[in-house]
């Protein structure tokens, strides 16, 4: 059930709000109507359900701050309705509205908005005081929340004595202490420096896991939106351009604007193992005989197989050489030749950024397993690298490095994934491309060496770059 519901909400600043709404509905562009008024929010509709983090993302001037201020009634919509738990707040009188703000909605501000003449404790207890909670109880509860956000013992200080990050923790404690079900966060972390910001984001996620508040979070930082948001609304020029999960927005942008917007996003933190994992047929039951395994090697043109039991639990791998040896020795089952070393497993929710390191050292594709170690799919190194190619300057430049002489040695060390039929380009090309097309000279040199060596270091290149980017 939705806790916050906005339906066809408009906000126009200016002398003639209704007229502007009417004209834009009739098809006028908002830039033609600047004399009459500025349309800050145009026909925005969304619902936020209980326990959800709903992120509104847009550049400055896109109307996101106005939008959040209509949720707690600081601005009254020019048209449309905003409902909190089913009650239309735009129809409320000021007393009723104050009551809703006290009991249901609290807010965290970009520049903290703490009262400098009150102590940290008094600031944290601010909402409680307004709710009419007795002073001693308010103090105690405020102290508890200060402890929760990591500011235990700072209660007697004044906000000016705290660093920016700590001040925003006070702001967070103030909002949480009010114990409202809805939390509005207006660019709450934007004024903090990147490291502190990351820390605060982690803390919010951690708190949210236990508190399950309904959070509306405003930001202009796409990475922040992707990291925090269960769902994201992208705003542009007052309109909501798209609402969806971070993966929706990244992989299925509704228009060019959203697509352009997300092109710089650090997708290694958004995309998860499940989104790039592949089905594989290179799987054999542990009860199968070596001969059937060898048929599989031939058919799938791989040099290693994953071994599973009857309920798809991953047991290990078997290499083509071991299978041949087993056949020669006349073994009937493969179970004695299963290797468990060197196999790396990841969960389906593991972000891409955490796949680079294991993928670069693994000799076989990464296995994606669920909580009970059941094989869900595999991620060949090529898939990890390929996922990055969408971030690069342009995919069309990729072929520029592929005409390199293919010096792949097909025998011995070759990994099953290298021969994956879905891979668009042969491995040397991609490995070199990982360092950027303009470094093809280096790539050529690298290709002279053995593939395994070239593949290792080069594939780490993009991983480091991306992880260092932005955040």
């Amino acid at each position: 059930m939705s806790v916050v519901r906005a339906s066809h909400v408009w906000k126009v600043f200016g002398r003639n709000e209704k007229e502007v709404v009417k004209r834009i509905k009739a098809g006028a562009d908002r830039s033609e109507l600047t004399d009459l008024g500025t349309a800050a929010v145009i026909d925005a509709s969304f619902e936020v359900s209980k326990g959800e983090i709903f992120v509104v993302m847009g550049l400055s001037g896109s109307g996101k701050s106005t939008l959040i201020r209509m949720i707690n009634g600081l601005w009254a919509p020019s048209d449309g309705t905003v409902e909190i738990a089913g009650n239309d707040i735009s129809a409320m009188g000021s007393n009723e509205l104050r009551q809703v703000r006290r009991d249901h909605i609290s807010m965290v501000f970009q520049h903290f908005a703490l009262l400098p003449h009150r102590t940290v404790r008094e600031n944290a207890a601010y909402g409680l005081g307004l709710q009419g909670v007795a002073r001693s109880e308010a103090t105690e509860r405020a102290d508890n929340w200060l402890d929760t956000v990591g500011l235990g013992g700072w209660g007697d200080k004044y906000p000016n004595q705290l660093s920016g990050g700590m001040q925003q923790r006070v702001g967070l404690a103030r909002a949480l202490a009010a114990e409202t079900d809805i939390l509005l966060m207006d660019e709450a972390f934007s004024a903090l420096d990147p490291l502190i910001r990351r820390e605060m984001q982690d803390q919010l996620v951690e708190l949210q896991a236990s508190l399950e508040k309904t959070i509306v979070f405003i930001t202009h930082d796409l990475n922040e939106a992707m990291y925090l948001g269960d769902r994201i609304a992208v705003m542009r020029d007052g309109r909501i351009a798209q609402i969806g999960t971070s993966e929706d927005i990244l992989t299925r942008p509704t228009d060019d604007y959203v697509a352009n917007f997300v092109q710089d996003v650090d997708r290694t933190r958004v995309l998860t193992a499940s989104s790039i994992m592949q089905d594989t047929n290179a799987v054999v039951r542990h009860t199968a005989g070596p001969r059937s395994a060898m048929r599989l090697f031939e058919r799938e043109r791989v040099s290693g197989l994953f071994v599973i039991d009857s309920t798809r639990h991953l047991l290990g791998t078997v290499s083509d050489r071991d299978a041949v040896r087993a056949a020669r020795e006349g073994a009937t089952v493969l179970s004695d030749h299963i290797e468990t070393d060197g196999i790396l497993t990841v969960g389906p929710e593991t972000p891409l950024s955490e796949l680079f390191a294991p993928s670069s050292t693994a000799r076989v594709p990464l296995a994606v397993v669920d909580d009970e170690n059941r094989l869900l799919g595999v991620i060949p190194r090529i898939a990890v690298l390929n996922s990055m190619s969408q971030v690069g300057p342009s995919t069309s430049e990729m072929p520029a490095v592929t005409p390199l002489p293919a010096t792949v040695e097909p025998q011995d060390d070759v990994e099953p994934g290298q021969d994956d039929p879905d891979a668009p380009v042969p491995k040397p090309g991609i490995a070199a491309a990982g360092n950027g097309a303009d470094e093809s000279d280096d790539a050529e040199a690298a290709v002279g060496e053995s593939t395994a060596e070239a593949g290792g270091p080069t594939s780490e290149g993009p991983a480091d770059d991306t992880m260092g980017a932005d955040r």
Partner: protein
């Protein structure tokens, strides 16, 4: 009205103004009498308190040149110093002791107390009017727009020009002086209060609203505390302007240091002029340092010092 009248215009504004004052006096005589009574009474009360040894001498309780009278004056000096210490610091207290002893030594004690009493009464009335007007102006653009030219007028009009209609309305004495002082000293109080409240960070006001505070709560618990430093600067300005105007009020027969200065001018008596003038300077420094000291005692300033 002929073309010649247009070429050689003479607008009888002065006559209109004086007619208006007459009319106002006739219609609102009770109001003027009430104001007059209020000013007169509070001033007299305050003067009797500040200069109580004189009061005792006048009704014959103590002798004019007795040791007791001097001791009572010294007690007053110490009380002033104590107030200065509370409001500011020991340095201002020390200055107060030396300065007020100098006033006593210059034989300007009673005149100074008269002037101080008049300043306090005028400043209190000016602030009672100025602060709410400033708050109102900060809340409403309309009020602000209307007030602006009126305040400009009040400030730019030569201070002496107030005295004439004031004397017409209240006849000579301390009341026209107090009236002119209130009008002259009020504008910075209104302006700086408006400015101070408008300058309060909008996000902090929003925070109050977002947590469900009433507008009264926001005004008294958020806006005024945060605006206090600037408001105190306004109050300081009001006091300084009041002090300068009170001296001019001597022309309207309000006595005190102003009366001495005006008397010195008319008799070309350099000595008295210097002595009374110096007493004014000492009072001015005392009041200025006191209000500046009070400005440092607001909760916000205390919090800032804690951070330093």
């Amino acid at each position: 009205m002929s073309f010649l009248d247009f070429l050689y215009p003479r607008v009888p504004l002065g006559k209109w103004a004086s007619d208006f004052i007459d009319w106002f006096g006739n219609v609102f005589g009770w109001l003027l009498d009430g104001f007059s009574w209020l000013m007169q009474t509070t001033y007299q009360l305050l003067f009797n308190i500040l200069a109580f040894p004189k009061f005792l001498v006048d009704n014959g309780t103590i002798a004019d040149s007795s040791v007791l009278r001097a001791l009572l004056i010294f007690v007053m000096i110490l009380i002033f110093a104590g107030i200065a210490w509370l409001a500011a610091n020991w340095k201002v207290a020390l200055f107060t002791v030396l300065g007020f002893y100098a006033i006593w030594a210059l034989d300007q004690w009673e005149n100074s107390m008269s002037t101080l009493a008049l300043v306090i009464v005028a400043v209190v009335v000016a602030l009672v009017l100025a602060l709410p007007l400033g708050v109102l102006a900060s809340k409403s653009q309309t009020v602000s727009t209307i007030l602006k030219p009126i305040l400009d007028f009040m400030q730019a009009m030569p201070a002496l020009a107030y005295l004439v209609p004031a004397i017409v309305m209240f006849s000579v004495g301390i009341v026209p002086g107090a009236f002119a002082t209130i009008i002259f000293a009020m504008p910075p109080g209104v302006r700086l209060t408006e400015l101070a409240i408008r300058q309060v960070d909008g996000e902090k006001v929003e925070a109050g609203q977002a947590f469900g505070a009433t507008s009264t709560h926001i005004l008294f618990k958020i806006q005024l505390p945060l605006a206090m430093a600037t408001i105190m600067a306004g109050i300081n300005q009001v006091i300084m302007l009041a002090l300068s105007m009170v001296v001019l009020a001597g022309m309207a027969g309000s006595g005190g240091l102003g009366g001495e200065v005006v008397g010195a001018i008319s008799r070309l008596n350099v000595g008295i002029g210097v002595e009374a003038g110096l007493a004014v300077v000492i009072l001015a420094v005392f009041l200025d340092r006191m209000t500046a000291g009070l400005g440092q005692k607001t909760p916000l300033e205390r919090a800032k010092r804690a951070a330093a």
